[in-house]
Symmetry: C2
Subunit: 300 residues, 2 copies
Amino acid sequence: MDSSVPLIPQLAAHIVAAGGKRLRPVLTLASAKLCGYSGARHINLAACVEFIHTATLLHDDVVDESELRRGQASANAVFGNQASVLVGDFLFARAFQLMVADGSLKVLDILSRAAATIAEGEVLQLATQNDLSTSDAKYLEVIQGKTAALFAAACQVGAVVADRPEAEERALAEYGMALGIAFQLVDDALDYAADQATLGKTVGDDFREGKITLPVLVAYHAGDLEECEFWRRTIEEGAQADDDLETALRLIARHGAIQATLDRATAFAADAKRALATFPPGGLRESLMAVADYTVNRVR
Amino acid sequence: MDSSVPLIPQLAAHIVAAGGKRLRPVLTLASAKLCGYSGARHINLAACVEFIHTATLLHDDVVDESELRRGQASANAVFGNQASVLVGDFLFARAFQLMVADGSLKVLDILSRAAATIAEGEVLQLATQNDLSTSDAKYLEVIQGKTAALFAAACQVGAVVADRPEAEERALAEYGMALGIAFQLVDDALDYAADQATLGKTVGDDFREGKITLPVLVAYHAGDLEECEFWRRTIEEGAQADDDLETALRLIARHGAIQATLDRATAFAADAKRALATFPPGGLRESLMAVADYTVNRVR
């Protein structure tokens, strides 16, 4: 994060200090270890993964006009949108510099592809915003791109540094992809179900932005005429009154939409665990399986 | 620019259709030819250079809230800030994918470093905004980062694909760096001197944003007490009235600040031409020298 331009380490330190789960870099470290890797390359590559993630967070918060991130004021709220966009660009470029220093074209291939896929997923999300005719499949395509692609890449890179056979690379990429989908499904459920103080961001953000997520799609498709009219006004037209979030939460509860979303997440987490079957039982494999369970049971 | 997400090629096509000089990719093509290269790699790498440039334009226009780019409505004005940020990210990632497909770690090193330097230059510009105590040296550091670094990299990549000795690489990088500084100096002069219809963007944008550029620094340092007060109010405090741009133009003219800026540009263009002395005289060398002359004589 270092730079001769002080605002860069200042802003980057702000986002690092706010904490976060560091799930993606941990996946790179654990995947490398699972593949029996004993060198040190996985550490810098895990940092690349986290830099790419951080760059997308900085840009997301600008795009979403978020004011909270991980329970703290977001970087754009403190330093402004301009600095957030530019420091995001810097971290993204630095990630590629770190990968170049590592020297593996295969790693560069995996992470540059993931970076393009993330951007595609984010643009697709923007295109589906406010659009209740979005299919479940399209929604899954969005979260696969914006979230799961980097989980998959983070895991795959671990197998690549260990120089393991293609089958293990593929197994770890599949694990990461299913895990990432489960993770985002839970994120989308928490946005309507979490305790604000625990969540670290504002409950109802997705609702206010008219984001199309599974809890809304489930409630919308199960709703009666009056309910559909409510969703059309609040999500499609964005005409929201003060008590509309409360109504949305009630309708989502009435149709069990949170549980339905968590059930989908549980199924993807099970897929993730199954993908690890190719590895021998033992410490790290069980830890990665526990990560899949944690992903669906977390409250923030 | 292709993607299964339609908004991406749509927005990218908008910015491509608006034209532009395509100076940076031309530098890669011409540098490769100057070095006697006869393959086809320089074409994709020139595209990488233009993608990186386009990504920074998209982000710049969001950061600057610009409404015009190359005489057309800017992408953010047509598609919104969100799409501009994300499609910029996409093009940036695509540039790295193209470089990975090309397979040269050296090229990846040069262009990832340039990308980081551009972001640093942009952040430094943001940090100097509204600050009249910015030194000429700091201003030069800004434009070297935000503009000249990519010119230098674009030229250097041409020598790298031709597999030429370090001395030729360095000569082309020096040419690009000096050319890029000259180019930005002229840009900053045109922002106060150009004919609006010819310029393709709004005259006075830099003034309204409180950007610290050489024309302002020259006029400010040569100004009397009343003039300094004018610059402090308009640039530092950003308290601008309708006729302030006109006053700024008059003060800049009074102190010959446009000419002083263009003189600096001419000196850098001469440096650029001198850097080419290591190459044998002839067609492409003279063309690149002509580019240096064009850079200081252009009206847009």
